[in-house]
């Protein structure tokens, strides 16, 4: 971590605020864009992700605070145009102009004054790279959604920007199209190592692409860290639910033996690892895939074993989502094969077990 933070950020924002009238939509004390890294801005709709992206890309003037480019404050005026020409943005909608695909990809390069040989070289290269070379002479209006987004991305990548901004580039695509484009994008970003700011509300995209994640809620940063930190140690229930932790259970610390805590939940005791004090109220986070089900009380190393009644079974692809009532609600995700072997059905009793280390404990303020 220290190695990363010692690198000078390409872009940074300090005390950034954006208001519409009296309504504050963004309040960011500090954020850094580190070279050759992917920074993902995640959060629910309306959390201010895109607003923050637009400020950093110098496309929206913040109400207060400042943007720094390589340590220097960005001032208004003609210099912002020069700086904008070092960046590139691709939005959720492809926003192509009514001309050929090739002309669309050429446009940014022409505006930035590249010579025609370089424009041709880069246009050909990136059209090929995004798999749309055969569509080069087609009118952009005749493309499918996926093809259009590839053209939009080729247009942004062809600029080989110092910072690449991607605003939910896959969100509007249907599932197979999204998967194929996302796969290509993972490879291209790994290869180019472009400094990237990615806005997404898809946790899997963030987890796969990002070196660092900043989670926004209501215009404020609620947590920032590596994907591992965010996904394994969310700071509150909202982040926990966003990163896919379906089991968030309220409880109270009743014992603490050198970091191993007993948490009382509706008459049961769950054992976990935490620095929380006795008497403290906490949220217990357990990922559904970390819960094992068995027909009898097993004698595994798991300390937490609870008898529960199955309240619902829901097949989701190759997995089955099992909802249990153990005195507290619990959701487990198991393979279809295990579900068949266990002969699960609603109303049946099973034993749910999970390790104390599989639990993430959040203090409730």
């Amino acid at each position: 971590m220290s190695q990363v933070s010692s690198m000078q950020p390409v872009l940074a924002a300090r005390d950034l605020g954006v208001s519409y009238g009296n309504r504050k939509v963004l309040e960011i004390p500090e954020i850094d864009v580190i070279p050759n890294r992917v920074l993902a801005l995640i959060g629910p709709n309306g959390s201010g992700k895109t607003t923050l992206l637009l400020c950093l890309a110098l496309l929206l003037k913040p109400t207060s605070g400042k943007i720094l480019y390589r340590g220097e404050t960005v001032l208004d005026g003609s210099k912002t145009l020069q700086l904008r020409r070092r960046f590139a943005v691709a939005f959720q909608e492809p926003l192509l102009l009514n001309t050929t695909v090739r002309e669309n990809v050429r446009l940014g390069l022409r505006l930035r004054g590249f010579d025609s040989a370089e424009i041709k070289r880069r246009t050909d290269y990136w059209l090929e790279k995004f798999g749309i070379a055969s569509l080069a002479e087609r009118n952009a209006r005749t493309l499918s959604g996926g093809e259009a987004q590839r053209a939009s991305l080729a247009r942004a990548f062809a600029l080989q920007p110092e910072v690449l901004f991607l605003d939910e580039p896959f969100a509007a695509l249907d599932s197979p199209t999204r998967q194929s484009l996302f796969g290509d994008m993972v490879n291209i970003l790994q290869e180019t190592r472009f400094t990237t700011v990615l806005v997404t509300h898809d946790r899997n995209e963030a987890q796969t692409l990002a070196h660092r994640i900043v989670m926004l809620v209501n215009g404020k940063i609620v947590q920032s860290g590596t994907p591992r930190e965010i996904f394994s140690s969310p700071v509150n229930e909202e982040v926990a639910r966003f990163v896919g932790i379906e089991n968030v259970i309220e409880g109270k610390i009743v014992a603490n033996r050198n970091g191993v805590v007993d948490i009382q939940v509706n008459g049961s005791i769950i054992e976990g690892i935490s620095g929380a004090q006795i008497g403290e109220l906490v949220d217990i986070c357990i990922r559904p895939e970390h819960i094992t089900l068995s027909p009898v009380r097993s004698s595994t190393s798991a300390r937490n074993v609870f008898a529960g009644k199955i309240t619902s079974l829901l097949a989701a692809g190759a997995l089955v989502r099992v909802s249990l009532d153990c005195g507290f609600p619990l959701v487990a995700l198991i393979t279809r094969l295990s579900a068949d072997e266990l002969n699960l059905e609603v109303g049946k009793q099973v034993f749910a077990s999970f390790k104390a280390t599989a639990i993430h404990v959040i203090s409730v303020k």
Binding site: L54, A57, L59, L81, R84, R85, F87, A88, V89, F91, E93, L95, L97, N98, L107, G108, L111, R112, R141, R155, L159, F165
Partner: protein
Amino acid sequence: MDLIIDGIKHAFLLLIHGDPKVIQVVWLSLAVSGSATILSLCIGIPLGSVLGLARFPGRRFIISLINTGMGAPPVVVGLAVTIFLWRNGPLGVLHLLYTPSAMVLAQFVIALPLVAGFTLATIQQQDPKLRLQILSLGASRFQMVWLLLKEARLPLLAAVMAGFGAVISEVGASMMVGGNITGQTQVMTTAIVGETSKGEFAVAIAFSIILMVLVYLVNFVLTTIQQRSRAG
């Protein structure tokens, strides 16, 4: 019945033989309305763009003024321009009244709100994010507006047609500020009025046919463009 048939027959003869008087009037009509349309484009497109893209005090007022202007009766415009150009009016020293220049001015005032209004509507229909996209590609403000207008070229062509169609078929203002002087300020519409009042139906019908063909052509192009842009 004979009156109509003779009138149409005579009209076609005038057209086929290229009667110099007819040609002169048609030429003046096209020159006056063409100049007025070009002038209104030069002012109306930038005005509509600014109103569509910028936010400033008084913007709403100007937009409502334009909307009113889009439906203003040409006679009222004619009256206003006449007063301005009157001997002791504000622009009287220019001695423009009863000249083709006065007619260009009056028709410009009629076409301007149409062109500005169409431009404004076109710009506002575009995705606001398109501006950000174009700016992010490295365009200056000026380049951005140019690209947006280029992107809106089909609807803007409609603005051109609407403006030209309005002024070429307008009669009240041209009559008032031009005076319908034969050989000097007579255009097709005012000629139709003049010839009809003299009972010269053949000439009036000839001008009407030309005028209808022109208006038809304008509308045909307009419709084609609109249908194409809808399909695209």
